[in-house]
Symmetry: C2
Subunit: 198 residues, 2 copies
Amino acid sequence: MDDGDTADDIMDATYRALCTHGYADLTMQDIADESDKSKAALHYHYDSKHDLLCAFLEYLYDGFVDRIEDPAGETPHERLLSLIDSVLDKPDDGSEEFGTAILEIRAHAPYEPGFRERLTKFDDYLVDELEVILEDGIADGTFKSDLDADETAQFIVTVLTGAATERVTTGRPVKCTRRMLTEYVETHLLDGQQEVTA
Amino acid sequence: MDDGDTADDIMDATYRALCTHGYADLTMQDIADESDKSKAALHYHYDSKHDLLCAFLEYLYDGFVDRIEDPAGETPHERLLSLIDSVLDKPDDGSEEFGTAILEIRAHAPYEPGFRERLTKFDDYLVDELEVILEDGIADGTFKSDLDADETAQFIVTVLTGAATERVTTGRPVKCTRRMLTEYVETHLLDGQQEVTA
């Protein structure tokens, strides 16, 4: 087993341990119990739980990028809706528990610069991806020409973050958010004058 | 000192203790240390930290209702923007630490039905307040007649929740959210045909 496999095994074990124990009570032993490694072996690879969790956030980030890059669809409009769906639909089993653990980690970000830095990367990446699609759509006349692509992208990320927080906090399903975001895209971003000006 | 004053003192001490220690590490002793009561006196009023924190969420809820009910403004449009501002602008000193503690409590909601029930009340109240303003504005022609007041209110709450989460997680200030929500209200909710149809 090379180091890549070992790292993946530890990351998988961390995922399961977070789903089972949450973030606040998580110990290196809990992670070891979910893997075929000893606690000592974990400490060989990661100095501390903090280092392991920073590596885990990077591992999640790589998965997030794989999942949302190049969204399905032919047009900027379709690609925008695909991207929104990819973020709203969590792909994993046990995603409720995992979403909860991630919100705990988010709440800990002010105390842990290593967490904040990595969590910010998720938001920045998502803003950038949305911005590219919006700019493509402005250029080809799909979206309104006076749209501020950067601020609109940040606004959509805020909505998606709110939906994820509400899912954990109140258990509210995301389907209302999906419907309202779709409506926002269709009536607020799409260039209604397209046919007139074409 | 009557029981009301005692309860208020304990709530104030809980606020300070949460700002200082966060939620995860908070003990009854930390709260006692911020008050002029002993830990035993706190246990006389509240059986457990969980009970005290449920009472604290109810205390916050009362303050939230006082703060956002009857927002300033003559028209539904002005009242809607005032209400959004009241939620985005945190009134308290130490609000960054407090916002963090509240997000920790939110992340704990799935494990604590008492928390979830009380946190849901905040969102429900805010949705109801927004809905009343939206309905007033639909009735008087301020807002588009085909607006779904309930879903629009929920969408705005999702945006406000997202802004609060981002402030904790990435430190992003709320001013972009304020600008985009204002634009959303003006170009998406306001009835642009008002003068034509009036």
